[in-house]
C-alpha cells in the first residue's frame, strides 16, 4: 500500500539546564505550577475519583434506601446478579448497537460535511458554519423531543409525509416496537452529534499539507485516489481522536432514550439501567454495581482505542 505522508519532522528540544541539578528558580517554578494547577486538579479528582470509589464500595453491599436497617455486606453478589440477568445483556447490546450505528454513520456524514465546509465558497462559509453549530449547541433533550414529536403517531408529520414509502402508513407506530424505536433514537443522536465530529475532521483536513495534494494532482491522481491515498492517511490522527470521543460519548447515551421511550420495548441502555436501579428503585447496591460495570466498559473502550489503534492522545490534549 502506498500512502503519501510527510516525513516526521525533527523536534527541536528546548534548551535547558543540565539534568540532575535543580536550581532554586526551577524549584520555585514547580511549586508555583502546582499551586496554580493544584486546585483544579483536586476538584476534578474530588468530583469523579471519590464518587467512583464510593460506588465500588457501595456495590459490595445489599442496600436498599427504603430499607437501610438490612444493609449487609454481600461481596461480589451484586455483580453476579447483574451479569446473570438478561436485562443487563439486553441493555449492553442496545448500547453497543446504538454506539456502532451512530458512530459509523456520523463518521461518514461528518466527513462529507467537513469536505463541504472546507471547500465551500467563502461567501457561504460563515452561514454553513453557524448552521452546523446549532445542532451541537441545542440541548439533547430538545433534539430528542423534536424527533419524537416528528415521528409520534398523533402529533407527527412523518406518517402523513412518507405514506408513499413501503411500510409507512398513517397509523405507523414508530415507538411501538424495538427496531423502529432504536432507528429514531439513532437518527436523533446522529443529527445532534455529527456537527461535532465534522468540526474535528475539518480541523484534521486543514492539517493535510497542501503541497502533497498539489503533487498528487500533478502526478495525475484522481479525486478518489487523492482522498484515499493522501487526505485520509494524513488526517488519521484527527479521525481516531474524533472516533474515540464520539464512541465514549455515544456509549453513555441516556437523554434521548429517557425522553423518547423511557426504556420501553427493550430500548434500555446501560446508563438508563443504572439510573432506574438507583433513582427509581432506590437499589443503591445494585445501581452502584451497574455504574461500576459501565465505568469499566468505558475504561476498556478507551484502553482498546489508545493501545489497539495507537491513538495519539497528545494530539487530543493539545500537548506537543
Amino acid at each position: 500500500m502506498t500512502q503519501t505522508t510527510l516525513p516526521p519532522q525533527e523536534k527541536t528540544q528546548p534548551v535547558s539546564a543540565p539534568r540532575g541539578t535543580i536550581s532554586d528558580r526551577s524549584r520555585a517554578e514547580r511549586r508555583l505550577g502546582w499551586l496554580l494547577a493544584g486546585p483544579a486538579f483536586f476538584v476534578m479528582l474530588a468530583v469523579t475519583a471519590y464518587p467512583i470509589l464510593q460506588a465500588v464500595y457501595d456495590s459490595l453491599f445489599s442496600y436498599r434506601l427504603t430499607d437501610p436497617a438490612n444493609r449487609e455486606f454481600i461481596g461480589l453478589s451484586n455483580y453476579g446478579v447483574i451479569l446473570t440477568d438478561p436485562l443487563w445483556w439486553q441493555a449492553l447490546g442496545v448500547t453497543v448497537l446504538i454506539t456502532v450505528i451512530t458512530v459509523a454513520v456520523e463518521l461518514v456524514l461528518g466527513f462529507a460535511l467537513a469536505l463541504v465546509m472546507a471547500k465551500a465558497l467563502s461567501s457561504i462559509r460563515p452561514v454553513v458554519r453557524a448552521a452546523i453549530l446549532i445542532p451541537y449547541a441545542v440541548i439533547t433533550v430538545v433534539s430528542a423531543l423534536a424527533w419524537q414529536f416528528a415521528f409520534d403517531i398523533n402529533t407527527g408529520f412523518v406518517n402523513s409525509w412518507f405514506t408513499w414509502l413501503p411500510g409507512v402508513a398513517a397509523d405507523t407506530d414508530w415507538f411501538g416496537n424495538w427496531g423502529t424505536s432504536i432507528l429514531i433514537i439513532c437518527l436523533a443522536e446522529i443529527w445532534k452529534t455529527t456537527p461535532f465530529i465534522s468540526l474535528l475532521l475539518l480541523a484534521g483536513l486543514a492539517q493535510v499539507p497542501e503541497v502533497l495534494q498539489e503533487a498528487a494532482k500533478v502526478d495525475g491522481a484522481t479525486w478518489w485516489q487523492r482522498m484515499t491515498k493522501v487526505t485520509i492517511p494524513n488526517m488519521k490522527a484527527a479521525i481516531m481522536v474524533a472516533l474515540l470521543f464520539r464512541t465514549l460519548d455515544a456509549f453513555r447515551i441516556f437523554d434521548s432514550i429517557f425522553i423518547m421511550t423511557a426504556g420501553a420495548n427493550g430500548t434500555e441502555s446501560v446508563s438508563f439501567l443504572a439510573y432506574r436501579q438507583t433513582i427509581a428503585r432506590l437499589e443503591i447496591g445494585l445501581g452502584s454495581a451497574v455504574s461500576v460495570l459501565l465505568f469499566l466498559a468505558v475504561v476498556l473502550i478507551a484502553f482498546t482505542f489508545i493501545k489497539g489503534f495507537k491513538v495519539d492522545l497528545s494530539q487530543a490534549r493539545g500537548d506537543r
Binding site: 514547580r30 453549530l133 446549532i134 408529520f157 441516556f254
Partner: protein
C-alpha cells in the same frame, strides 16, 4: 473554480442548512400550533397562536417552567464561572511554567471528560441525601464541575499556548510596570480564550440532563432539561406537546444567539482543544 463546481458547493451548503435547521423549524412550528392542529399531520400550523408561550410564562405551565429557567441560568452560570477561574490558573501554569505533572493534569482532564456521568450519580444521590445537598443548587453545581472543568482546562491551555508571552517582557522593557504589562498586554490577549472557553463550558452545563433529573426533586433546583423531560411525562395539561415545544424553543434561544454571535470563536475553541495542528 468553474460555475458548475460553484453550483455544486452551493447545493451542498443548502443541504447542510436544511439538515441542521429542519428539526428546529419543526419544533418552532409545533410551538405555534393550537390544540386543534396537533394531530392533523401537517408541518405548519393552520393558524399560528401565541397561546403556548403565554402558557409557559403566565399560564398553567409557568409553575414548572419559570423556576426551572431560573435554576438553569443560576446553576450553569455559577458552575461555568467557578470552572473558568480554576481552569485559568491551571491553564496558565500548563502553558507557561515548566513543572512535572503537567501531563498528569491534562490526562486527568481527559479522563474526567470521558467519564460516564451516571457512575457519578449513584454515589452522589446517596451522599447528597445524607448531607442535605439533595435538591439544592450547590448539589448540582458540584457535579457540574465534572462536566465543565475538564473542557475548560483543555480549551484554555490550548488558547494560552498561542499567546505570545514575550510581549509581557517587551512591555516591561519599554517601561511598563508588572501590573501594567499584565493588564494592558496579557489580559487583552487572554480574554478571548477565556471567554470562548466560558461559552463552551456553559453549553455543556446547559445541556446536562442526567444530574438534573437524578439529583433534584422539586422546583427548588430542577433545571430546564429535567423539567422538559417531565413536561412530556406529567399530564397536567390536556396535551403537553405544544407547550413542551414552546418551552424547548425558549431554552434553545440563548444557545442559538451565542452561536450566531460567536461562531468563529466557538469553532476555534472546540477544535483547538481537541485537535492540535
Amino acid at each position: 473554480m468553474s460555475t458548475r463546481e460553484k453550483t455544486w458547493w452551493i447545493i451542498g451548503g443548502i443541504l447542510i442548512l436544511l439538515y441542521c435547521l429542519f428539526p428546529i423549524a419543526w419544533i418552532v412550528s409545533l410551538s405555534f400550533k393550537a390544540p386543534s392542529d396537533i394531530a392533523n399531520g401537517s408541518f405548519l400550523p393552520t393558524a399560528a397562536t401565541w397561546q403556548n408561550y403565554s402558557d409557559i410564562f403566565t399560564g398553567s405551565a409557568s409553575d414548572l417552567f419559570l423556576p426551572a429557567l431560573r435554576n438553569s441560568f443560576g446553576i450553569c452560570l455559577i458552575a461555568t464561572f467557578i470552572s473558568c477561574i480554576l481552569a485559568m490558573f491551571a491553564a496558565y501554569a500548563i502553558a507557561r511554567l515548566d513543572f512535572p505533572g503537567k501531563t498528569l493534569i491534562l490526562s486527568t482532564a481527559l479522563g474526567v471528560a470521558i467519564f460516564p456521568v451516571i457512575s457519578i450519580v449513584t454515589p452522589l444521590f446517596n451522599l447528597w441525601r445524607q448531607i442535605g445537598l439533595y435538591d439544592t443548587w450547590l448539589g448540582l453545581i458540584i457535579p457540574y464541575l465534572s462536566l465543565t472543568l475538564p473542557i475548560s482546562i483543555w480549551t484554555m491551555s490550548a488558547f494560552f499556548r498561542e499567546i505570545p508571552w514575550e510581549m509581557e517582557q517587551a512591555a516591561q522593557v519599554d517601561g511598563a510596570t508588572t501590573w501594567q504589562a499584565f493588564r494592558k498586554v496579557i489580559v487583552p490577549l487572554a480574554a478571548p480564550g477565556v471567554f470562548t472557553t466560558a461559552i463552551i463550558a456553559f453549553f455543556i452545563a446547559w445541556n446536562d440532563f442526567v444530574y438534573g433529573i437524578s439529583l433534584t426533586s422539586t422546583d427548588a433546583s430542577r433545571p430546564v432539561p429535567a423539567a422538559l423531560g417531565l413536561f412530556s411525562g406529567a399530564s397536567q395539561f390536556e396535551d403537553p406537546t405544544t407547550v413542551t415545544a414552546a418551552a424547548a424553543v425558549i431554552v434553545t434561544i440563548p444557545v442559538v444567539v451565542l452561536v450566531l454571535l460567536f461562531q468563529r470563536r466557538i469553532v476555534a475553541g472546540l477544535t483547538n482543544g481537541a485537535v492540535k495542528g
